[in-house]
């Protein structure tokens, strides 16, 4: 192996500024997409466990559609196909936006992730014993109160580990946004490699970014799980 390392290069301009921008783009892309996905996922997941057959059918179709098309293909659909469905003046407004690739990535990743979150909501709801629902209603709570005070406190705790790993998946999936021209951290390091031919240094930065975020997220979520822990509710792993 014949390779000259040059780690100092990473803290010189322009590379350092690129890396900072790339890390920030990855982080806010993941956060915005995850928040939207969570709201959509809760809505669709609720449809899937609702009493109405129409809503259940809609929820099922939504999940199958967004789960069975690869994310990369979905990004292309949002980039090329979806704008064609807009009215002409809205399409013009959209195409004139400065950051069309960024918002396309936000939309694509959000919808893809929401179908996975919806499945986790359904699984969590199904994991709650039916007796809890009946007991809550029979003490005179309204359905809204039942969800607010009995079901959701359970469901959130059951879902927490799955939500953690889902966030980490979103975070890794943002790397695919490089295909539609978003300069997040993976795209940035590839650009650095192309400029400097120092691939090992550049990719190490990207890998460490993902690794550090993973460790931080797992740390925070483990702390949260411990804070919210109810003895006897969930069998803890390990």
């Amino acid at each position: 192996m014949n390779y000259q390392f040059n780690w100092a290069m990473l803290i010189t301009e322009p590379y350092f500024g690129w890396i900072a921008d790339g890390v920030l783009t990855t982080l806010h892309l993941a956060l915005i997409a995850w928040c939207i996905a969570f709201v959509l996922g809760v809505a669709v997941g609720s449809c899937r466990v609702s009493g109405s057959a129409v809503l259940r059918l809609f929820g099922g179709a939504y999940v199958e559609l967004f789960r069975n098309i690869p994310l990369l293909v979905q990004l292309f659909l949002w980039l090329y196909v979806a704008p064609q469905l807009l009215p002409a003046d809205t399409r013009l407004w959209w195409n004139r936006l400065d950051s069309v690739p960024y918002w396309t990535a936000v939309i694509g990743i959000s919808f893809y992730t929401s179908s996975r979150i919806a499945e986790q909501i359904r699984a969590a709801m199904n994991a709650i014993p039916q007796g809890q629902f009946r007991a809550a209603l029979s003490t005179g709570l309204t359905p809204v109160q039942m969800y607010r005070h009995v079901i959701l406190p359970y469901a959130i705790r059951i879902m927490l580990p799955a939500i953690t790993s889902e966030f980490l998946t979103v975070f890794k999936n943002t790397a695919l946004a490089l295909t539609i021209g978003v300069l997040e951290i993976t795209a940035t390091t590839r650009k650095i490699e192309a400029w400097s031919f120092k691939g090992i240094e550049a990719y190490t930065v990207a890998s460490l970014t993902y690794l550090a975020t993973t460790v931080a997220v797992i740390g925070v979520m483990t702390w949260l799980e411990r804070r919210l822990y109810i003895p006897g509710l969930i069998r803890r792993g390990g």
Binding site: N68, I69, L72, L77, Q84, L176, Y210
Partner: protein, 213 residues
């Protein structure tokens, strides 16, 4: 909308689909055994082995497939000192990346069987390999099947990432055709339908297996 463009490009797209399926099949067939080894290593009593395997699994799982692909695309030629074909780098990256996900599935499958089964097997006089072979694995594989099927779909969806380095799988074939014909809308819808059909068939199979087990 001009749907003739799909008809005209259908043979090309089907060939792309075949390439994608083959790539996924090779990746699954090579990464599953590697995943089994990693899982056994992770469950080993030797601390150095289980820590090494665990560390490797967590390192790989915290990185996106695209980045792992770039690493190997860039590193493999440097390490081996000669040019490696695109396909070679892609397969190596896919196998190493997906093996850690298979390792996690196999590990939880083996752990779901429970230590009492192992103890019972050993106390009837079976050796440890015999216990694994005749008692643990038959139950573990049945428990793992739905998750393994789902993971195969994930691998198939993951083959789209080879598009990024210009390998001629289904998505790349479609994007070339879209550029040539100037009809991205029709072609991307067509490939989305193709991926959807294959993946839906896979997830129906997974659901069937889940019901049976």
């Amino acid at each position: 909308m001009d749907w003739h463009v799909i008809q005209a490009n259908l043979p090309l797209l089907l060939r792309g689909l075949g390439t994608s399926l083959q790539l996924a099949a090779v990746a699954v067939l090579l990464s599953f055994p590697l995943g089994c080894l990693l899982a056994i290593g992770r469950l080993s009593r030797r601390a150095w082995l289980s820590l090494t395997c665990g560390g490797f699994v967590n390192l790989m799982r915290s990185n996106p497939l695209v980045l792992v692909l770039f690493w190997f695309y860039f590193l493999v030629p440097i390490i081996t000192g000669r040019a490696v074909s695109d396909l070679g780098s892609i397969v190596i990256a896919f196998v190493i990346f997906f093996s850690v996900y298979f390792a996690e599935i196999v590990r939880s499958g083996i752990q779901s069987v429970g230590s009492r089964q192992v103890q019972a097997g050993l106390s009837t006089g079976l050796t440890y390999p015999q216990t694994m072979r005749h008692i643990v694995m038959p139950q573990a594989i049945r428990a793992m099947l739905p998750a393994l099927t789902t993971q195969c779909i994930v691998v198939f969806q993951g083959t789209t990432v080879a598009y990024i380095v210009g390998y001629d799988e289904l998505l790349h074939t479609a994007s070339m055709a879209a550029e040539r014909t100037g009809r991205p809308v029709e072609l991307y819808v067509a490939v989305a339908v193709m991926y959807f059909l294959v993946c839906t068939a896979g997830s129906l199979l997974a659901r069937n297996l889940e019901r049976k087990s």
